[in-house]
């Protein structure tokens, strides 16, 4: 007689994992030199016939693709958690001011750090940028978590987070306004998002926080499922609302901070992926939606990153431009075909 409350999502999940594999190999093949998929696979298993292939695939492109996977998974899951907690379909990792905090940190390094940083050289500068982004995002996170512990209402949390974002954005804007053009350009390039600068040695620092964030997301899946009928029903079921709120804010902040520090503020993915996932699996079960959002987010970012490489060897498009140009029409198309699933789902 035993019946699960929600159907299995194994089929979709398996399909997405296969699609991820194909997209990843495709992305490894793309770039300044177009490689045949067989050469990519050979290089991946250490059987490259040409040392150049090994260099291209292993040293140059693999960090980018691995970065895209982690970044996409993190953004997709962060968006899902926030949309459920705030019961708002427009919520995304950007709404709590975390990316704005990271941006302020980077603006500090780019605009104020100036000459001394530039002298120290490129690698150090990228390290400083990552560090500053983490510090900025961390400070914003601390602010939002304190807020989440105080507010009685999730709508207040949403509005306060948006205001924090605007405040920090205003500070960045002020700094930009008084800055030299070449620094403005440097900041602008960062702010459009890119995985190109990701070093192999940096991957552990990207994967560790994102891994923690994704595991933590699974830990709050059960209370989030119990919120589907609204916060009041959740509370009468024994959901410790305040603690769940703080946990979700902390987890999404960690995920967003890691992404923004290494890849810049990437828009769109976090808002759109949960909607796509719910279009595939229209049930409010976070045990299934979290893996689906992780895979779907990873797929979206890997594909968009591959498209960003498409113009050819000299130019690589900023990631945020591709995600917005390609992604927005896709989401509208999906939503027009299906009714909008619940934001709390």
């Amino acid at each position: 007689m035993g019946r699960a409350p929600y159907p299995s999502a194994r089929g979709w999940l398996a399909g997405l994992v296969v699609a991820l594999g194909v997209a990843s190999v495709g992305s490894l093949a793309l770039g300044s030199v177009l490689l045949p998929p067989r050469a990519v696979l050979a290089a991946l298993v250490g059987q490259a016939q040409d040392p150049l292939h090994h260099l291209l695939v292993y040293e140059l492109r693999l960090p980018r693709v691995l970065g895209a996977l982690a970044v996409g998974a993190a953004l997709g899951v962060a968006g899902l958690l926030l949309q459920t907690l705030l019961q708002n379909p427009l919520a995304g990792p950007g709404v709590l001011g975390i990316s704005a905090g990271a941006s302020l940190g980077v603006a500090f390094v780019v605009f104020a750090g100036g000459s001394s940083v530039a002298v120290a050289g490129g690698l150090w500068q990228s390290g400083a940028r990552v560090g500053a982004a983490f510090v900025g995002a961390g400070a914003a996170t601390a602010g939002v978590v304190l807020l989440a512990a105080r507010v009685r209402d999730s709508v207040v949390l949403l509005i306060a987070g948006l205001m924090l974002g605007h405040l920090l954005g205003g500070l960045v804007g002020l700094w930009q306004y008084y800055s030299a053009p070449e620094k403005l350009k440097e900041y602008l390039v960062w702010s459009l998002g890119s995985l190109g600068g990701l070093q192999r040695t940096e991957l552990p620092y990207l994967y560790l926080p994102i891994g923690v964030g994704l595991l933590g997301a699974l830990a709050v899946a059960s209370p989030l499922n119990a919120l589907v009928l609204g916060e009041a029903y959740g509370q009468t079921l024994g959901v410790p609302l305040r603690r769940v709120r703080i946990a979700v804010v902390a987890l999404t902040s960690l995920l967003t901070a890691a992404v923004t520090a290494f890849a810049g503020p990437i828009g769109f993915v976090g808002i759109a992926v949960p909607h796509l996932a719910r279009a595939l699996y229209p049930h409010p079960d976070h045990y299934r939606l979290i893996p689906l959002c992780a895979c779907l987010g990873a797929l979206v970012v890997v594909v968009c990153d591959a498209l960003a490489q498409a113009p050819g060897y000299a130019t690589v498009l900023p990631l945020s431009i591709v995600t917005a140009l390609v992604g927005a029409p896709v989401v509208v198309w999906v939503l027009l075909r299906k009714p909008l699933p619940p934001p709390g789902a």
């Binding site: 035993g2 409350p5 830990a219 029903y233 009468t236 024994g238």
Partner: protein
């Protein structure tokens, strides 16, 4: 026998500290197992606030509240003692009936994604007791108001609590639906020994079916009335009847 719910000098209202504003006079009452209490009062007199306080959704301003003789414990302990049906509002789309009733098992399974046999048995029993088995495969947003209300009562039953609190379970229903819901509550009190407190505007039905009436008067005084006592008719008429 220890009452399932007992409140002593309970003061309900909003705010904290000096800004606190009591809505009702301090109120003492107890509800034993198997008793069906109807909470009557005009709109805005504080029925929902009282129920929300009894449900642990908001803190009392004063007085004490005891469940089976114990004060409010952890959220989970409370969820295993009190199940609530909130005032009906628009159903979230795409949520299934079975999944909704299964939510009632959350206080027992918590971190486990799947249902145990005890869980499914409780869910089936709740569906059966409310006559919602034929709806189990439907979605909430495809149900009529009356059907949905019975599903929410099934969800509360699946929670397997001694106490059931319902805030206007008969709102938006046609006369037959209101009749069905209140009869269902009386039956659950009788057959399952549930202690039930339901706010409703169905004065006549409540007088017929409930074991006790809590009548909120002007000024926030709550009178506990015996529905069969001679003076009750008059007091209810005085409170609710409209002179045309």
């Amino acid at each position: 026998m220890t009452p399932v719910l007992a409140c002593e000098e309970l003061t309900v209202g909003y705010g904290t500290g000096r800004g606190a504003q009591a809505l009702l006079e301090p109120f003492s009452a107890s509800v034993p197992a198997g008793a069906f209490v109807a909470l009557l009062g005009l709109n805005g007199t504080g029925k929902s606030t009282l129920l929300r306080t009894l449900a642990g959704l908001q803190r009392p301003l004063g007085g004490s509240l005891r469940y089976n003789g114990m004060p409010i414990g952890t959220p989970t302990a409370l969820a295993r003692h009190v199940a609530v049906v909130l005032p009906p509002r628009a159903a979230p789309p795409l949520v299934g009936v079975y999944a909704t009733v299964a939510l009632g098992r959350y206080p027992y399974r918590r971190w486990l994604p799947s249902l145990s046999e005890a869980d499914t048995a409780a869910i089936e029993a709740a569906l059966a007791a409310t006559g919602t088995q034929p709806l189990a495969h439907r979605r909430l947003d495809t149900l009529s108001d009356g059907e949905r209300q019975r599903v929410f009562i099934a969800r509360a039953l699946a929670q397997a609590t001694p106490l059931l609190l319902l805030d206007e379970p008969t709102a938006h229903l046609d006369p037959r639906g209101r009749h069905q819901i209140l009869h269902l509550l009386a039956q659950l009190a009788h057959t399952q020994g549930k202690a039930i407190v339901a706010a409703t505007h169905e004065v006549a039905l409540a007088q017929k079916l409930a074991h006790e009436l809590w009548l909120i008067a002007d000024g926030g005084h709550i009178a506990t009335l015996d529905p069969a006592a001679p003076g009750t008719d008059q007091r209810l008429a005085h409170r609710f009847e409209v002179t045309v």
